[in-house]
Each structure stands twice: as C-alpha cells, then as structure tokens.
C-alpha cells in the first residue's frame, strides 16, 4: 500500500513496520513448523506462515494474488493436508520422525551456507533498463483495480498456458481419485 | 546405350531413384505385412506356410529394378570426367546449412554397382533360409540398401553421417533377430563398436561444417567440396579430427586391433547378413578413408608418424588375420578373419599412396566383395543342409556335391589370389604400388600369399576332400538351380575381373589419380601453410 509517487526511501514507517512484522511472524511460524513433532501443530504453524505471506503480497501491491494465497494455500491446500493427517490418524507423531541433533546441526549449517551464498549472489546488479518506474504497480492497481492488471496478460499472452493449466488440474483430479480408489479397486478384483 | 540413357534423362534422376526404390519397396512390404500378417502365429515357418512368398517376391522385384536402374551408371558414367557426375543438390535443412547432395565419381560407381548386385543376390541367398518374420526381414534389407547406397552417394557430410547411421540399425536387427545362438552378444558388440566411432565422426563433421561456415550468411556448410576447400584447420586440430574419422572408419574396415566385432558378427549373422557385412559394409570403412578421412586431412593422415602407424596396423592386420584364420575350426570365422587380412591390403594400398596401390585397393574392395560374398553364400548353402559350420564336421563331400565343390574351389582360388581370377589383380596392384613407396611393408604383406593359400586350401581340403567318413554327409543334396543362379554371376565376375579388369580400372582411374595427386599436393601445401602459421579458423 505504497503511496503514489513516493520514492523508495520515503515509505511510510507504517508500511515498513508491517512488512517486517509479517516477515518476522512468517519466519518464526516457519521455524516452529519445521520443529513441531505433531503433524497437526506443524500444519497449523504453516497456515500461519501462509497468512503472513498473503499479507506481504498485499503489501507488495499484489492484492489479487494475496487473496488467492489465502483462498488456495491457507484455505484449500492446507485443509487438505490437515484432512489427510487426520484421516491417516497421524496426529500423535512418531518418535523417529525428526532426525537427531547432529543431523539438525549439519542441516542448519547447510541451510546457513545456502543462505550466505544466496546473499552473496544477490549482490549482482539488476538490469536498470528493464526496471519499471517506481510505484508503477500501485498505479496500475489504482487505475484498473486489483484483478484487471493480472487478468490482461493471463488471458492474452499466457492464454495457452492458462488452458494447459486447466487440463493439468483436471488430470490431477482424475489422478488423485484414481490413486485414492486404487486399493478398493484391487480388492474387488 | 548412353544415347538412350541421355534421352530418358537418366543422369538427372538416377541417384535419388536409387535411394527411393528400396525405400518404396520396404514401405510396400511393411504395409503388406501389417495388413495381411496373421497376428497370432509369430515364429512359425513362413516359407512352408507361404507367408514368405509375398515379401521375398517383392524384395526380389525391387532389388531387380534397383539393379537394372543402377546398371545404367556403367554406361552413363564418363570415365574422362574426374568431377562429380549425375549430381542432384536439393535444399534439406536450410537453417543449419545442410543440403541433400548426391553425386558419383568412379569409385562410387563401382561401389554402387557392387552393392546393387550383391543385394539382389542376397535375396536369393535368403530365399529359404529366412523362415520367420519375413516381412520385417526383407523390409530391413531394403532399408539397409538405401543406407549403404546413401553413404556411397552422399556429397554432404551431414547426409553422409545420417546414411551411415541409417544402415547401422537394420543390420543390428538382422543380426539380432535372425542370427545364430549368440546373436544378441554379436549384434550388441557390432552396434556399440560402430557407434563409438560414429559418434566421434559426428562431432568432427559438425566441427568441419562450422569451420567452413559461409562468410556471407554465417551458416555452417557441409558440402564436401566446399569443406575440402574452405575448412582450413590447424595441424593439431586436423590430427584430432582425423583421429575421429579414423576411429569411425577403422572400426568399420576393420583394422587390427578394432576387428574383434567382425568374427562374432559374421558367425552369428544369417547368410545374407554375413554377405552384406563382408561385401559392402566393410567397404564403407575404406571408402570413408578414400572419400573423407584422407582427402580432408592430408597433412595429418600422411604425416610420417600417423602414416607409419596406420601402415603398420594394416600390415599387422594382413599377417595377423591370415595367421588366425589358419587355426579357426569354424569356416565362417575363418572367412571373417581372412576379411581382416584382405581389408588390410586395402588400407596398405590407400596409405601407400601410389596410383597403382590405390587402384589396387579399390580392386581389392570390389574383389573381396565378390569373392567373400560368394564364400559366405556357399557356407550358408551348406549350412542349410547340414546345420553346422565346423570344418571338422565335413570331409570328402566333393563326391556328394560336385557342383558345390566346383564353386567353392573356384571361389577359394579367387580368395587366395590365383592369377586369372580377380583376387590376383587387386593384390598384385596393391603390392606393386606399395612396394614403390613402402618396400618393407609390402614385403611383409606379400608373405601372406603363402599363408592365405595355406589356410584356405587346408580348410577346403578338410571340407571337400579327404575320405567321406561321416555318414550324415553321405546324403547331402547338391546345389539347386536357385543357388546356382546366385553363384554363377559371382563366379562370372571372378573370371571377368581377373582376365579383363581394364574397363573397371579405367572407370576408377580418374578418381584414383585425383585422390593421389590431390592428397600429395595438399599434403605439401598444408605443410607449407603450417610453416607460415596460417591463422586458425575458429568455429
């Protein structure tokens, strides 16, 4: 929710505060997510992270995607996860689910290593001539609403991909049903 | 004759027709098979049930047409013209600068005629010996023909490579499906051996095509003549590229020590497979040396070290092949090793680089195709009757099968190189030519006239002569008329080329002389250019 025409350095404190707030909450939730033994608890912490991400999307002028994030991820997908966990009765968690401390330390070290490398790599300069004017996205949203800017390329340039995606989804549905049913089908046979 | 050919525009359509006819025949047979084949009875005896009649009839007709069409080349080819003749040049893959260019010179003409003749006879040789999946068999045989002819005709290096691979696959299946007991091992060995070489060749061809790219358009160009003139590469690069071509062709030839696929492939392949392999496919290796490897990199090929190594390998192959033949218990394997020896002569002839030796090498290529082809046919025929290839299982059968014995004896004399048969002409020319530049190698190679007599005469003695002491050999039927029809053309060629090879020599002379003078001149030119450190063209 950037103010129109404002340069980067002059973002409102409110804005920056919330961005960092959601970021931190997201990270903490994620950390909790990976360390919880109980799958249910883990899943719920992940939902929390998803929400934080949705908020950040909105702060980054992607209101539509933020909404979709809440609907699809935090809503649909995570619900399915929880549903499966409960269906399989995995709520208690199993003793050997998490690896030992040694593994954790090494994994942490690797994680930090990758992080360091990513940071090192992002020092590269972004190509300036492709960069849009500051606040262009927010301007678009203001002029055409949250959906129209994304709808235009989606149904023009990326129409084919969009249609393929629909087929993908169909295939996924069929596949999921087939996989889920397989056991019974085999029993019958 | 040549006026008639001109009147029907023979020159303009013959080369593509030679490729189209077998492919069309293959398509017809394949469609026929797909439509009419009984689905439920694979592996049945299709000769007995009559299923084989259609495919083999179609194949025979196709090969007969192919042969008649190719025969016109004998007259339409102008021996005085050393350039490419009957050229067609069509656009094929323009974005990579690849064209569909076909053309012939004296060498290619003879190889094409040899191929069409042998393939026609190969159908006769397969007539009753191939009894399963006949549709696929004859279709593959036709595709194989198109591939081999394509290699001989291609004037575009990329097309050459494509045809090189096209012929590989049918042969793999012919050995692998209709072969003997160890056919899977043999076919795999054949395939892998050849692939290792041809992959490197592809890399070298692509490099050359890029090195010879058109300065105006920046497109690569794979045209043979263009590459010959414009793909100037430094001497070190040339050596690497020559090495790539060398490996591809040396495996195919096969030169010692890359020859061990050959005995296995020959022994396991069905009769026609062995014939095609020996008569034509081996020649593709030596043809590759004459057409590509040596003319493209004369300085590398003829540099003292590389040349000596190749000559040494050739001579080792000559003697080694003969000595190993001496002790083979299996007649087919014996002939296979003798091929190593004979092809060694070809290599010796090419690299000795005199007009006589190169002409001799070309003659050996033709002669080996005829004589060894006939030998494999004969082995196949007796195998059909007795189901064994072991020499010791025979003995004294000359009295039971006099016609077979007569044929085998004549062909054997040809393979030994008795004067008056074709074998002598080739060997003599190779040796007399090589002796001028490489007396030591030629001297060693000449000793093989002794060993070759020893191994072949010993073998036919144990098969045809001695006492008829095995009861199962007493009722072997003699050759039938079909088998005679297969052999008589070959025997006629054996005598004709032995007594009056001049027409063939005359047709090849232009190309052979051009090869020698070109390589000689460009070897020196490249050496001088190298001394002046010519700028290397980077692809």
């Amino acid at each position: 929710m950037q103010t129109l025409g404002m340069p980067h350095g002059t973002l409102s404190l409110f804005y920056i505060f919330h961005f960092y707030l959601f970021g931190l909450i997201g990270v903490i939730s994620a950390l909790l997510f990976v360390t919880r033994k109980s799958p249910v608890a883990a899943a719920l912490w992940l939902v929390s992270t998803m929400f934080c991400l949705a908020a950040m999307y909105i702060l980054l002028d992607a209101q539509f995607i933020g909404a979709v994030q809440v609907l699809v991820y935090a809503g649909a997908i995570m619900v399915v996860f929880l549903f499966v966990i409960m269906l399989l009765n995995l709520g208690q968690g199993e003793g050997i689910d998490v690896r030992g401390v040694g593994w954790k330390i090494v994994a942490g070290a690797i994680g930090l290593g990758i992080l360091a490398q990513v940071f090192a790599l992002t020092r590269a300069k972004t190509p300036v001539n492709l960069t849009l004017p500051q606040g262009y996205a927010a301007e678009q949203v203001a002029q055409h609403g949250a959906v129209a800017p994304i709808a235009a390329p989606l149904f023009n340039e990326y129409l084919l991909a969009f249609e393929v995606t629909s087929i993908l989804l169909l295939a996924a549905i069929v596949g999921a049903v087939l996989l889920g049913k397989q056991k019974e089908a085999r029993d019958v046979a | 004759m040549s006026a008639f050919l001109t009147s029907i525009g023979y020159q303009h359509w013959v080369l593509p027709a030679l490729l189209v006819i077998p492919l069309a025949g293959a398509l017809v047979i394949w469609v026929h098979g797909a439509v009419t084949r009984p689905r439920c009875a694979p592996g049945g005896d299709e000769v007995a049930t009559g299923v084989a009649a259609a495919p083999r009839g179609w194949a025979l007709a196709t090969f007969a047409i192919e042969f008649v069409v190719s025969l016109g080349l004998w007259w339409s080819f102008d021996p005085g013209n050393t350039g490419w003749q009957s050229v067609v040049d069509w656009s094929w893959i323009p974005m990579w600068g690849i064209r569909f260019t076909l053309g012939i010179d004296g060498i290619a003409v003879m190889m094409v005629l040899l191929t069409t003749l042998i393939m026609l006879l190969a159908v006769g040789g397969s007539w009753t010996s191939i009894r399963a999946r006949t549709h696929s068999y004859y279709a593959l045989l036709l595709v194989l023909t198109a591939g081999m002819l394509g290699v001989f005709l291609a004037l575009d290096l990329f097309l050459f490579y494509v045809m090189w691979e096209v012929m590989l696959v049918p042969m793999y299946f012919i050995i692998g499906i209709w072969g003997g007991e160890r056919r899977i091992y043999a076919s795999l060995k054949f395939f892998l051996y050849t692939m290792v070489g041809s992959m490197l060749m592809l890399a070298a061809i692509v490099y050359l095509g890029l090195a010879a790219r058109d300065p105006a358009t920046g497109l690569p160009n794979f045209n043979y003549d263009w590459i010959l003139q414009h793909a100037l590469v430094g001497s070190t690069t040339a050596k690497w590229l020559f090495g790539a071509f060398f490996l591809a062709f040396a495996v195919k030839v096969p030169m010692f020590p890359f020859h061990t696929w050959l005995p296995d492939a020959h022994v396991e392949a069905p009769t026609a497979g062995s014939v095609v392999l020996a008569s034509i496919m081996l020649k593709l290796g030596t043809f590759g040396f004459i057409r590509l490897a040596v003319p493209l990199f004369p300085a590398a090929a003829m540099s003292p070290t590389i040349r000596s190594i190749i000559l040494l390998l050739a001579v080792i192959g000559i003697v080694y092949g003969a000595l190993v033949s001496l002790v083979q218990p299996d007649f087919k394997k014996l002939v296979a090793y003798s091929s190593v020896s004979h092809l060694g002569f070809v290599m010796l002839g090419i690299f000795a680089l005199t007009v006589q030796s190169v002409q001799g090498a070309l003659m050996v290529m033709i002669n080996h195709g005829i004589s060894t082809g006939a030998l494999f046919f004969l082995i196949g025929m007796i195998y059909e009757r007795r189901h064994t290839r072991l020499i010791d299982d025979y003995g004294g059968i000359a009295r039971v099968v006099p016609m077979f014995a007569a044929m085998l004896t004549i062909v054997t004399f040809s393979s030994i190189g008795v004067p008056g048969t074709n074998g002598f002409v080739g060997e003599f020319l190779v040796l007399i030519g090589s002796f001028r530049t490489e007396p030591v190698f030629a001297l060693v190679a000449t000793t093989v006239v002794i060993i070759s007599a020893a191994y072949l005469l010993w073998a036919i003695q144990r098969i045809l002569f001695n006492s008829l002491d095995k009861p199962e050999n007493e009722h072997v039927p003699d050759l039938n008329k079909r088998e005679l029809a297969v052999l008589i053309p070959l025997v006629a060629c054996i005598v004709w080329l032995g007594v009056y090879p001049a027409p063939v020599l005359r047709r090849m002379e232009g190309a052979a002389t051009k090869f020698v003078s070109q390589v000689d001149a460009r070897r020196d030119a490249m050496v001088t250019a190298d001394a002046q450190s010519a700028p290397e063209v980077q692809p």
Binding site: T49, L53, A62, I85, I150, A172 | -
Partner: protein
C-alpha cells in the same frame, strides 16, 4: 522493498530446506516443499513490483500447479499408507535400484 522481500524469501526457503533435511514424515516433508514454493512465490511477487505483472501471473500458475501437486501427492501418500501402514520415509524404499 525488494531487498527485504528477497531476504525473507531466502530465509523461508532455507527453512523449508532445513525441514526437508531433518524430517522423516512424508506429509511434513511435503509441507516443507510447499513452504519452499511459497518462498519462491514471494520472490516473484517482489520482482513483479519492479519488472512488471508477469511475475504475478507466474505465481498464479505456481499455485495452480501446487494445488494439483498437493492433490496427487496426498493421494499417493494415502495409497502408500494403505500399502505400508506408515508414512515414514525411512521405511519406504521403493526407489531402491
């Protein structure tokens, strides 16, 4: 806000990797992968602000694929569980060569 967004994205991604490395429960590993996907989405969104709306379209597609993937993946896990009575990756080695 680009650097900040990228920073959070990287951190979240690495946490996802960490989770994949230390967890043995198939479902949780799966969720970790989802987390990594989300982290990447954040990057897309952040760049979309600078380079144009195409990034958002990408995210849209990623989400769709993720949804499909989740459906099929979970179906597989269910099938696996029915077969093996466990979702612990240590006990599952069907891919062994």
């Amino acid at each position: 806000m680009l650097p900040e967004a990228l920073f959070f994205s990287a951190v979240l991604f690495v946490i996802g990797v960490f989770g994949v490395l230390i967890r043995r429960n198939a479902i949780i590993v799966f969720m970790c992968v989802e987390l990594m996907l989300n982290a990447v989405n954040l990057t897309f969104i952040a760049f979309a602000q600078v380079y144009g709306v195409a990034g958002q379209v990408f995210v849209f597609f990623v989400m769709t694929v993720a949804a499909a993937e989740a459906a099929v993946g979970l179906a597989i896990i269910i099938a696996l569980f029915r077969h093996r009575q466990t979702v612990n990756l240590q006990n599952i080695n069907l891919l062994k060569g």
